[in-house]
């Protein structure tokens, strides 16, 4: 069933918090170089799904493969053994994560934020990491902010730094959890522009967002989630303009 070029293969993901079933069997395929936009009402499990993809959240059952490699576990016979922390961290360096609230390190300068992981996690020489970081800052239009502390930047600038920080590890896959939801409306565009640029460069991405216009413009696949399940998915023209399910229709009528 999985095509050879499927970069992300999530199978039968179940996750509950106490008695609350948040993910009730989610299957998701993302092909290399494609952009998948995940839509859905608040509380439908979008963030939880995204977090299981890099093992920030442990699944109760199911499996996630990225580039064919099981995330967070090692299979032996019919059992999945959780990996050692060190191996999980190594997998995470290949999966970039961009948070709704940026989570930049406030006590480090913008440049230090970008240099930290390549040096510490990939053991890159400091000089190379700094050069790479400066190039990335240039790409997101913040070359002049290298020595600023995050708190002195606008929300849009902070999120662009956070994207650059994720890119500094040269990940195979980028996950965005509502990257523009914490921003003032006039700052949304500059962040979406950076993400669009990544899309045009063929970066594989999964983006949780409420920006329908963005989904229409960049997504190869739109996934609609509700109640811990994927209700429907397909190309944006189909899901956004001709939704088949009532719940998709009513959600779209609210956000459009």
């Amino acid at each position: 069933m999985s095509t050879p070029s499927a970069m992300v293969e999530a199978r039968g993901i179940h996750k509950s918090f106490g008695s609350l079933d948040v993910l009730k069997g989610v299957d998701l395929d993302v092909r290399a170089g494609e952009v998948t936009v995940v839509l859905g009402p608040s509380g439908s499990g979008k963030s939880t799904l995204l977090r299981t993809l890099n093992h920030l959240e442990k699944v109760d059952s199911g499996s996630v493969r990225v580039n064919g490699e099981l995330v967070g576990y090692r299979r032996s016979g019919n059992k999945l053994y959780e990996l050692r922390e060190r191996d999980i961290l190594k997998q995470r360096t290949k999966i970039g994560f961009v948070f709704q609230n940026f989570h930049l390190f406030p006590h480090l300068t913008v440049l230090e934020n970008l240099v930290e992981a390549p040096v510490a996690a990939l053991r890159r020489p400091k000089k190379d990491a700094v050069a790479g970081a400066r190039a990335l800052l240039d790409r997101v239009g913040l070359a002049d902010k290298a020595d600023a502390y995050p708190r002195t930047l606008s929300g849009g600038q902070q999120q662009r730094v956070a994207i650059a920080r994720a890119l500094a590890l040269e990940p195979e896959l980028l996950l965005f959890d509502e990257p523009t939801s914490a921003l003032d409306p006039e700052l949304v565009g500059e962040v979406l522009d950076v993400i669009k640029d990544l899309a045009h460069r063929g970066t594989t991405m999964i983006v949780v967002t409420h920006e329908i216009g963005f989904a229409r413009e960049v997504a190869d696949t739109v996934v609609f989630m509700d109640g811990g399940r994927i209700v429907e998915q397909g190309p944006p023209g189909q899901v956004l303009d001709h939704p088949r399910h009532e719940r998709t229709k009513s959600f779209l009528s609210k956000v459009l």
Binding site: N54, L56, L89, F97, P106, P150, R151
Partner: protein
């Protein structure tokens, strides 16, 4: 307000302005007069009226024997005592916070045994008066006459006992201060570090602790000053710290008050230096934070 000063005169005069239509004179902007702080002045005078006579009496009263204070302030014995007090303070603080940080990370770990041990430690050593603890270690030879084949009294001299006792006490408080600091760091910081593949030790040292320091430094500064003075308790087990050194002198000369003043003045001097240091450290760890600089 009878005389008009030149500055306000020019301010009050309607300046000829290109923007103002000819013929209309703009009303002068009202001047701002600060509220009179009568209450502040009155309370300041009242406090000084009490303080000044007290200060005068301290200086005039010959029983304070300031000349004796001056004689002993820089003697070798006193300076050696001061040196030991400072050395004890630094050592106890460093060891106490090292152990305290370990206890705090144990308490916050996922391992229930480590959590329980850490909790039990803090419970025990916060319950025990430090004086009782020192006396206990001082008499440990009664419980364990030899340790690994060495006579306990040879192994543990009073200074070693002072370091052990004070450190164990300090660590219990440091553990709580560090734990509070770590908990004050937003959870998202840890998740961001994890998603970037940073290992546990790196996350703690590079991401969590530097941010926790903002919450740790003020109470730690308090503890440092408390420890400085708290070390004076070791005089009961005959460790020659600052207090014990002046005690040795006044037991010989009976000049109790001036020699206690010698010790007090030194404690004040060192505390003042430490307070200034705390300010600098706080400023360092506030970098990047809202309102810093």
């Amino acid at each position: 307000m009878s005389s008009v000063d030149p500055v306000s005169a020019t301010l009050d005069a309607p300046a000829p302005s290109a923007a103002a239509p000819p013929g209309t004179s703009r009303p002068a902007a009202p001047r701002i007069v600060p509220r009179r702080r009568t209450g502040q002045w009155a309370s300041a005078v009242a406090v000084l009226a009490l303080l000044v006579p007290a200060a005068v009496s301290v200086v005039r009263n010959d029983a304070f024997q300031w000349d004796v204070v001056a004689d002993y302030f820089l003697t070798d014995a006193v300076l050696r005592g001061l040196g030991l007090t400072l050395w004890l303070t630094v050592l106890v603080m460093a060891l106490g916070f090292a152990l305290g940080t370990l206890l705090a990370t144990m308490r916050l770990s996922a391992n229930p045994v480590l959590r329980g041990v850490s909790w039990g430690y803090v419970w025990l050593f916060r319950s025990m008066p430090v004086l009782v603890q020192l006396l206990f270690w001082f008499n440990i030879g009664a419980l364990y006459p030899t340790i690994l084949g060495v006579r306990t009294v040879d192994l543990l001299d009073p200074v070693a006992i002072a370091v052990i006792g004070l450190t164990l006490h300090e660590a219990a408080y440091a553990a709580e201060v560090v734990r509070g600091g770590i908990l004050s760091v937003e959870k998202g910081q840890l998740e961001a570090a994890q998603s970037l593949g940073l290992g546990a030790w790196r996350r703690l040292r590079r991401i969590v602790l530097p941010q926790a320091m903002r919450a740790i430094v003020p109470p730690a500064g308090n503890m440092l000053i408390g420890t400085l003075k708290g070390t004076s308790i070791v005089s009961v087990i005959a460790v020659q710290d600052l207090l014990y050194s002046v005690q040795l002198v006044y037991h010989r000369t009976y000049q109790v008050i001036p020699l206690l003043l010698v010790a007090t003045l030194w404690y004040v001097v060192v505390t003042s230096v430490l307070s200034a240091g705390q300010y600098l450290v706080e400023r360092h760890y506030a970098r990047g934070a809202a309102g810093a600089r």
